[in-house]
């Protein structure tokens, strides 16, 4: 929109009309489309999911009568041993990815914070995997995990001396849960690292200088200054990783497809099978609601704790 535009051109006319509006009207005009779209794509589906979860609806059988079944679907989900198995698989994945990513991520951040020459360049290199498409990455890691010809197996074999065709990361019941942890850690450690780095850089040098004056040992400085100051940042990183990995789908579905058997069938993969392969829409909706409530509940409690830590 330019000043000298003829008054007949549409943008200027609209511009003038909007320009003449009150602040209050502008506020509403600007916010309304966003609210509408968020309602349509986020809130409305949630309500519909809750409704569906109380029926026996199946999306692939449009001609079947839909009946209200009350909380039957919820009862079924919660008493289904398979659902608990997928919860265990998710917990294993969640806990180990967070532990490894926090340990490695924090260490890396601490090392990078030494500000050696070229640290910015190497930080950028480390960050790369994080921004890539998880599904495409997962698909390609199956190549690295091939027995015999895969790069991963070759490297492990090279350093340990075992036969590279003697183990298969995504085909073995004991190794597959670790195969997905390894790839997720490779991808997302930089995320934790970046946040920790921001935390480390937020600590004013004066605090350390004061500690030096008090002759506090480096060890003591680390535990009494560095760790508490970085903790809120670290907790935030854990929150993000926790939510993301609780709903993990794309990376793992491409890597293992939930197999072998159901050893890496995370909650979202199981949900996809129920909703879009078995087409038990009602049942899957109940599962979705339970998942959402779980994440929401855990995150709420966690955010409260996080705020407490921040206030300290």
């Amino acid at each position: 929109m330019t000043d000298d535009a003829s008054p007949r051109t549409l943008p200027a006319r609209v511009g003038r009309r909007i320009g003449a509006l009150s602040d209050r009207a502008i506020a509403w005009l600007f916010v309304a489309p966003t609210i509408a779209l968020l309602l349509a794509i986020n809130i409305f589906p949630l309500i519909w999911t809750i409704r569906l979860s109380l029926t026996n609806y199946r999306a692939n059988r449009p001609n079947l009568d839909v009946e209200w079944v009350g909380i039957e679907n919820y009862r079924r989900v919660l008493t289904d041993p398979d659902v608990w198995i997928t919860m265990q698989a998710t917990a294993h994945f969640l806990i180990w990815t967070i532990v490894l990513q926090v340990l490695i991520g924090f260490t890396l951040a601490w090392l990078i914070n030494a500000k050696f020459r070229g640290s910015d360049l190497w930080t950028t290199v480390i960050v790369l995997p994080m921004m890539l498409s998880p599904a495409v990455v997962g698909n390609f890691w199956t190549f690295f995990y091939q027995p015999q010809i895969g790069l991963f197996n070759y490297v492990v074999a090279f350093f340990s001396g075992v036969d590279p065709s003697s183990f298969t990361m995504i085909g073995s019941v004991t190794l597959a849960p670790w195969a997905i942890v390894i790839v997720d850690t490779w991808m997302w450690t930089p995320f934790v690292m970046l946040i920790c780095l921001a935390g480390l850089r937020s600590i004013p040098a004066s605090i350390y200088e004061a500690a030096e004056c008090d002759r506090a040992s480096p060890w003591r400085q680390f535990w009494t200054i560095t760790v508490p100051m970085v903790l809120p940042f670290l907790m935030l990183a854990v929150l993000f990783r926790g939510i993301e990995n609780f709903k993990m789908f794309d990376l793992v579905v491409q890597l293992t497809g939930g197999g072998p058997g159901s050893t890496t069938e995370l909650t979202s993969i199981n949900l996809k099978r129920e909703a879009f392969e078995k087409w038990r829409t009602g049942y899957a909706s109940a599962q979705a609601v339970i998942l959402f409530v779980t994440v929401f509940g855990m995150a709420s409690i966690y955010v409260k704790a996080l705020n407490k830590v921040k206030e300290r």
Binding site: I18, G19, A27, L29, V31, P33, T34, I35, L37, L38, A40, I41, N42, P45, L46, W48, T49, L52, A59, L108, N113, K115, F116, R117, W122, T124, V125, I126, V127, L128, M130, M131, L132, P134, A135, V136, N139, F144, Q146, Q148, P190, L200, R201, I203, A205, Y208, P218, F222, F240, I243, F249, S268, L271, K272, A275, F276, T281, Q287, F292, A299
Partner: protein
Amino acid sequence: MSFSVTDPSPRLKALAAVLVVLYALVTIAPLLWIIATGFKSPADSIAYPPKVFFTPTLEGYVNLFTTRSRATPEALAELGAPTTWYDQIVRQYDMVISGPSRYGERFLNSVIIGFGSTFLSIFLGTIAAYAFSRFKVPLKDDLLFFILSTRMMPPIAVAIPIFLMYRQLGLSDTHLGMILLYTGVNLSLAVWLLKGFIDEIPREYEEAALIDGYTRFQAFVKVVLPQAATGIASTAIFCLIFAWNEYAFAVLLTSGTAQTAPPFIPTIIGIGKDWPAVAAGTTLFLLPVMVFTILLRKHLLRGITFGAVRK
């Protein structure tokens, strides 16, 4: 040894540098390997031990962009000598190129849906963020949590009602449907990030403009927008990367017309484990994001934490 951030000893610095570089090399190795595999012949790609040095070939890229069919010796003889370099590559396996593959279309879909949803998210996000930033915002403190909560639903769970909704509206497997969906998902991020950027622009500039006789709208367009340009650009890149990488919705809601590259790339492998073609497709798909990541490195943290951490 000191833990102080102010002056690490040179020895510590060197040690840190060695460890970080080592980690960086390990982390980048798989990516380099993917890129290299794209230039290998199928035989080299599955050689044992894995080949670091090999004769590069464009076979993977040719296979990525074409469909080929086996031809009988007679048919080949009839065709005569191959006329182009890509014909030549295909002919050595007694095959002929029968047409283009779907990769180009899928890549284009990714571009259309990625840019379409980014444009829409940024347009809606910027005006909403401005309103949130400058006018009274209800429940301001809970906003981050609300925004976060829209991302707590697993995409598969959201996809159930969206699938039914799109089936009713005829939006399944359409560009418009995917653009609207990705806009809806990205909007929370866009609003929140942009609000942060606009908050940082001093109100005094606008107030001065208002005193000069600008309307509120003119002040927004002529004063605020130029100031927020960097923020808008980096937010746009985040939205673009999300839409570019998204898999779960794409695999469930598209089947052909509007299918993007992520659900398509895993299906390139087909019969015969053509890893170089998969690697080529993967490389072309990942490279733009790598470039954007490098461009974006200063604002990376802000984007991935929904603006919760600002450096």
